[in-house]
Amino acid sequence: MAQVTLENVNKVYDNGYHAVHDLDLDIQDGEFLVLVGPSGCGKSTALRMVAGLESITSGKLTIGERVVNDVHPKDRDIAFVFQNYALYPHMTVRQNIGFALKLRKTPKAEIEQRVGEAAKLLELTEFLDEKPGQLSGGQRQRVAMGRAIVRRPQVFLMDEPLSNLDAKLRVQMRAEISRLQHDLGVTTLYVTHDQIEAMTMGHRVAVMSRGYLQQVDTPQNLYDRPNNLYVATFIGSPQMNLIMGQLHLGATPHLVVGKHRLDLPAALVASRPGLADFDDKKVVVGIRPESLEDAGVETGAPEGRTIEAVIELREGLGSEVVAHARFDGEAPQVEAAQRDPDATLTGEQGVELVARLDPRTSVAIDQMARFIVDVDNLHLFDPATSLAIR
């Protein structure tokens, strides 16, 4: 087992495209780290650089104690699981799993034994003599896993291994890969664009966007304390609601959003000294959907904690009701800011709020509803830099 360290790693393609910028990442021995981001964010490139399938333009890559920048993939002691499995179509499952061992001139008896063990672990024993073409998607995926674990590598590298499976199988394989990684204790770097996979599987999650690492933290910390607007809106579904607000400190610190006033708890203000710089200035207010509750359900809605919005859509899910509402306030143009990271967020009138409400709620379409805002869990961002105000 080994630790994997990337220091200031850059990738610039021959055509000048800068895919990965100054990536610093430290994957602990035995850790399951998930790299997540939209397509084209550089996450696959980063993974392929660790595997040795792409050259590293600058920076330092260490696996274990060894700098492996210029080491051939086969000598890095890694195993790679491909998105479309990349099974050898003309070989049986047994040959596919044992191929790497055969190339390493492992004795036949040992190959047989290790392939057998891997197959048993993955419940593939009965398919050992079939060709990949005869297997279902889930089984092929397991063969790809088998090919990785039979090598007993120091590091597993996985490139969206579940994206070709249907939803149900994906959930099942998600659990299976997590269990396998836990049992084997192999350091794993896992790439996905699916935040649910990232949140459920990773010990830690690294969020990437446009070639830059945005934040690395445990799933819960990413959710609770996003570093910037990008991470705040990427993690969580439905995504965080964002409203432009005016911050007023003083004796009773509060925010003004639209026509409403939200009092800020003293503890929140005290824990974020950075707020002092934003007195009487605009800030982006982030409210998670579950931080909004129907005032009609809770008793004693206090003054200074509520906002009102017109319900546009109500989706009953049994355990909760997801309500979409139009709030008369300013919406920050996050997408424009993401196109140009230096742009200051500007507002646009009318915000669509998404709230996850108690199923007893009586909100109805086209009616004005009153929401209690969980002010203890508000997120505040600097509109100029998109960074969280801490």
């Binding site: 595997a51 399938l53 790679f80 491909f82 479309n84 050898y88 191929f99 090919r147």
Partner: protein, 323 residues
Amino acid sequence: MSTLDAAPATGGAAIGSAMEPVGQRTHRVLAKVPTAVLWAIVVLWTIPSFGLLVTSLRPEADQISGGWWTIFSNPSLTLENYDNALFHPPGGTLPFIDAFVNSLAIAIPGTVIPIAIACAAAYAFAWMDFRGRHWMFIGVLAMMAVPVQMSLVPLQQLYSGGAHLTVGGSTFIVLPDMDLSNKPIAVWLAHTAFGLPLAIYLLHNYIAGLPRDLFEAARIDGANHFGIFWRIVLPLAKPAIAAFAIFQFLWVWNDYLISLIFLSQNRDASPLTIQLVNLVTSRGQGTELLPAAAFISIVVPLVIFFSLQRYFVRGLLAGSVKG
């Protein structure tokens, strides 16, 4: 210019029909042809071959006295012509059984050698990174434009005298005289040279279409270029190799020109095509054996065609349709 200008003036309806792609229109017209017509064409095209088969089975007297259709009024069949052609040909001609073996001895190496070279070259052009790869590949493809006839004389000189370069009074030996003329290897080399460009082109298209992930997976599994080529590419390229092998084998088997020039002086090594011609020219004797001999020489192509039909279609599609 005037013809181009005339087109829009012909009006909307004419443009509508002119817009229909030629392929579609041809298909629409051909689809209306009744199956019976197609069968009639098939029969018409088969009659000469059928007549040849019938004639080859008739005694000499019957062959001379009338056309093959007189078989219906005078039905007498014999295998004597086949026996004579194969084992007892008239005056000095090589028995066809030997010529048959000679043809195999030319066609099999003439197929295997270019394919072996072309597979390796196609892999290198498709998946190995080296300087000048693109231009070398274009150079190889350009060779397809060189007609066989143009290179016969230089090749014959090379085979029988080697190649020499005279610079300022002193002569250098570029290639020594290897005395290849009238040896089977001369024919193998010629067929290899003329088969390679197309072989490389077809196999390259197929091999380049194999998914990149397979190559990357094999690299991580520890395979070097030769390992990838031997264990991954060759097994997967089988359909394309088979398709090209059929074409090349038939082309070499049916070849007359190259054997005539490089091998015809060597009676004991010459193939069926040469012997077939010699049979006619030997003082009118043995003409009754011609139909039988012709049939002997097309046995192999027929067997190959009927047993490997599906590869013909795949070969024609190689590169255009994956899988």
